[in-house]
């Protein structure tokens, strides 16, 4: 079967660094940090109490309160991002064949903010005090379902739960769905809402979050990642259809690699071989070689083992010729299951604007890393044609996508 081509024609975000893609990207280029001490609830006793928080999801101006009160924050942000992405792509969903439209989204932890309150009410008030929407608000496929219902989308749909690699995989498998003709276009990406008392506690107990409140991957002083909340949704569309309707095309999803380490239930393989295979798989499926990549966006999980594993992978793939790299999510937090979607948006914007955000958060590279990005100052203007983006999830999940500007 001759594969079709999958391109990105719309970007929608809800993020700590802004909900407008241009404002968001401008903040990354300027190196503005949106990581701050959590003030939504009393987090003073949490070991890690800094995060990137969304001030306003923007959903209230678009969706009615009767719907919003039934949703956890991760679904609310997903709806807002979906609306932005469809608008950006110029897609009027009511005129589309909605059986040919798909949804593939990812998240890591589901809708805990809603569930926490209902659990409190269950134990303090009893069964009848629990909202009937608890059943449909908390579960990981809720954003997919709510978008499907709101827009009447009835095509190929999935929710992918694979820790921090979730939305990365969603975008990769959305591209495959389009390439194999399962859908004309797919809303792809993910959402995460970890800034609630119980969800944040769970993240804390993973032992992978920074206690000093700084997100500095590959730096010798780093002690973990800082989390954040938000959503990112991309319109992944069949190329010829996009051209026929005169859509603006940000990039083609040229390559996708997905592997597992098979080493440890939580930790990555120190050798980085699994991630390197994902990166090589993405290059191979794109018909490219390492030297074709202009800009690298590492997973940057900011744990010693994670960083050393990833630096080994980068060295295996690129040798001494590592391209310019940036980890702009260090400015607004790692959105866990949504981080890959925000990175993909950033990558698209970098190619579109010809400017790569080179903020990495790393000032003093860890000598134990075979390769370590360092802070080389603020953004440099480059002619960026191809971007490689990595994600790694607990359990040794590795994902890599390669985007190419047309």
């Amino acid at each position: 079967m001759r594969l079709k081509r999958a391109v990105i024609t719309g970007l929608g975000i809800v993020s700590p660094a802004g909900n407008d893609k241009d404002a968001f990207f401008g903040n990354l280029i300027r190196g503005v940090s949106f990581v701050r001490e959590i003030d939504r609830f009393d987090a003073s006793r949490y070991p890690s109490r800094h995060a990137g928080m969304v001030a306003d999801t923007g959903a209230e101006g678009i969706f009615n309160k009767r719907l919003l009160k039934k949703l956890d924050r991760f679904s609310e942000m997903s709806l807002a991002a979906a609306e932005s992405a469809l608008r950006d792509a110029g897609i009027h969903i009511e005129t589309e064949d909605r059986e040919r439209a798909g949804i593939i989204l990812g998240n890591a932890i589901g809708g805990w903010g809603f569930a926490e309150v209902e659990l409190r009410d269950l134990y303090t008030g009893g069964l009848r005090d629990v909202s009937p929407y608890q059943a449909t608000a908390w579960f990981p496929a809720a954003p997919q379902g709510q978008i499907s219902i709101h827009y009447g989308i009835k095509g190929f749909a999935k929710t992918i739960i694979s820790d921090v690699a979730s939305s990365h995989l969603a975008i990769g498998y959305a591209a495959r769905a389009v390439m194999t003709g399962k859908a004309d276009f797919v809303l792809a990406g993910g959402a995460e809402a970890p800034i609630s008392p119980y969800a944040l506690l769970c993240c804390n107990t993973s032992g992978e979050m920074s206690m000093i409140g700084g997100y500095t991957p590959f730096d010798k002083r780093r002690d973990g990642y800082v989390t954040g909340e938000g959503a990112g949704i991309l319109i992944v569309e069949e190329y010829e259809r996009a051209v026929d309707r005169g859509a603006s095309i940000y990039a083609e999803i040229k390559g996708f690699g997905h592997t597992s380490d098979g080493v440890d239930p939580v930790k990555p393989d120190p050798s980085g071989v699994g991630l390197a295979r994902a990166m090589e798989g993405a290059l191979g499926s794109a018909g490219l070689v390492a030297g074709d990549i202009d800009y690298l966006m590492p997973a940057g999980m900011a744990g010693m083992l994670h960083d050393r594993s990833e630096s080994n992978a980068v060295r295996r793939v690129f040798g001494e010729n590592v391209p310019a790299a940036g980890i702009p999510k260090t400015l607004f937090g790692n959105l866990l299951g949504a981080s890959g979607a925000l990175d993909a948006v950033t990558g698209c914007m970098a190619m579109s604007k010809g400017i790569a955000p080179t903020h990495t958060g790393c000032a003093s590279p860890d000598d134990g890393c075979g390769w370590a990005v360092s802070q080389k100052g603020l953004s440099v203007v480059k002619d960026i044609r191809r971007v490689m983006i990595n994600s790694t999830g607990r359990g040794g999940v590795n994902a890599c996508i390669v985007l190419e500007r047309l």
Binding site: K65, P132, Y133
Partner: protein, 77 residues
């Protein structure tokens, strides 16, 4: 506050409907779009508003706002 106003308050403030939607002849399912899950919320909210347990089957999608008002008019008396 009249029973009509109290019922209306449940639909508007509790459920999140627009005041103009909640008219006496509005059917809960066909006009107000209340599905089975939302019906649970409606029944619990009405029970809290009127401080009484509503027997199963009284409030359902096929009735109107006026029917709800009439029910509480009878049950309160």
């Amino acid at each position: 506050m009249s029973i009509e106003d109290r019922v209306s308050r449940v639909f508007v403030d509790g459920i999140g409907m627009e005041p103009g939607e909640v008219t006496p002849n509005a059917c809960l399912k066909d006009d107000l779009g209340i599905d089975s899950t939302e019906m649970v919320e409606v029944v619990v909210a009405l029970e809290k508003e009127f401080g009484t347990k509503i027997p199963d089957g009284i409030i359902h999608g096929g009735i109107t706002v006026r029917d709800v008002v009439d029910y509480f008019g009878r049950s309160i008396q």
